[in-house]
Symmetry: C2
Subunit: 201 residues, 2 copies
C-alpha cells in the first residue's frame, strides 16, 4: 500500500457537466472544487464506510435545548435552543482496530492558521487521546491555496500551549505535516496519510 505524494501536482477529477449538476453536488461556495472541508470529509467518511475501510463519523453539533413544543403527539418541535461549545473534536471512529480522533479547520489565510479556531478543551482532548494510544491529528485546509494537510497532535499541541504565537505558520505545517491527496472518491483521502504515517513508520 505505498502511495506517491503528488509533489504539489493535484489530481483534477474529470467531472462532467452532468455530474456537476447532480443534486448530490451542492452549490459552489468555497474554492474551485465547490465543497467545504466538512462536506469533503463527510463524503470521504461515507466512502470509507461503504467500502468497509473505516467507521468514522462526524459528531452532531452540541445544542442546549430550552423549549420544546408538541404540536402533534408524534412530533417534537424545538422552539428555543442554543449552540454549545464542543468539548471534544468533530470526528472520531475506528480504522484498522485503532481509535481515530481529529478536528478539521479551514482558513482563507495563505500563510498561517489562526489558533483562535481551537478551544482549550478540544486540544486537551486530543492530547489525552494521544496519551491513551489513539491516533489524533488536525486536518487543516488552506482553501485559497487549495491544499489540505494532516498535522499530528504532537506537533499541534506545543503551538497551542507553549509557543507565544496566535497562529501556526503554513511553513511549519508544510514541513511537519502531510499533504492529503484529493480525488473523486474519496474526495479527501486522509486515511492514506494515516496509513503511511501511523502504520508504516
Amino acid at each position: 500500500m505505498t502511495f506517491h505524494y503528488p509533489n504539489g501536482k493535484k489530481y483534477t477529477p474529470n467531472i462532467t457537466k452532468a455530474n456537476k449538476n447532480r443534486s448530490s453536488f451542492p452549490a459552489i461556495t468555497h474554492g474551485k472544487r465547490g465543497m467545504t472541508l466538512e462536506e469533503d470529509i463527510n463524503e470521504s467518511n461515507k466512502y470509507y464506510r461503504a467500502t468497509n475501510q473505516a467507521i468514522i463519523h462526524k459528531k452532531p453539533t452540541p445544542i442546549q435545548v430550552v423549549s420544546v413544543d408538541y404540536p402533534q403527539r408524534s412530533s417534537a418541535k424545538i422552539t428555543e435552543a442554543y449552540f454549545k461549545q464542543p468539548s471534544t473534536t468533530d470526528y472520531n471512529g475506528i480504522y484498522r482496530g485503532k481509535y481515530i480522533d481529529f478536528e478539521a479547520k479551514e482558513t482563507k489565510n495563505k500563510t498561517s492558521i489562526p489558533l483562535n479556531n481551537f478551544h482549550t478543551h478540544q486540544v486537551e482532548h486530543m492530547q489525552a487521546v494521544h496519551e491513551h494510544g489513539g491516533i489524533s491529528f488536525l486536518i487543516v485546509r488552506f482553501s485559497t491555496l487549495q491544499r489540505t494537510y494532516l498535522y499530528d497532535v504532537t506537533h499541534f499541541v506545543p503551538w497551542f500551549f507553549q509557543h507565544q504565537r496566535k497562529s501556526i505558520p503554513l511553513k511549519a505545517i508544510e514541513s511537519e505535516g502531510y499533504l492529503i491527496p484529493e480525488s473523486y472518491a474519496p474526495r479527501l483521502h486522509y486515511l492514506q496519510v494515516v496509513e503511511d504515517v501511523y502504520f508504516h513508520q
Copy 2:
C-alpha cells in the same frame, strides 16, 4: 485489578435534602438512586476521564436546525429545530488503546428489554465496529430491578436481526451478559466489566 461484585447489595449515597434540591440534581424519576442511566454513565465517564482511565464521551443529540435568530451580534438563538434519529450509538471513546462504542437503554419492564428501543442503523453500526476490531456492547438497565448489565454486540445482533422476537428476555441477558457493579465513584463501573471480559479472556 480484581473486583468484587456487590452480590446484590447496593451502596446508597448519603444525599442530604440540600443536595437533592440543588439544581444540578434533577427530580427523581428512575429507581431509588434518583439517577437516570444516562446520568450515571455520564458521571462515570467524567470519573474515568478525571482519573485518566479512559476518554469516553456521550455524543450530542443530533438536531436538525431550521431557523436561527441573532438578537445580539455574538449570540445565536435557534428558534426552530427538530430531533433527528441517531445513526450511530450514544457513547464512544478509547480505553487502553482500544476503541469503545456502546449504546445504553433502560426499561421499567422486569422480564425483557423491548427491541423497538433500537434502530437498525445503530445495530448495523455496532456490528461494523465489532468487525473493525473495536469493542461494542449494550448497557441495559432494568430500572425496576435496579440491575444494569453489559451485553456484548455478538449476543445482541442475532436478537435484532434473526430471532423472531420483539424483546430480549432478561434471562438471556443474565446468562450471556455481565452485571455491572455500582458504587459511589464511578457510579456504574462498566469499565471493570470491559476489563474482565475483553482484556482477560
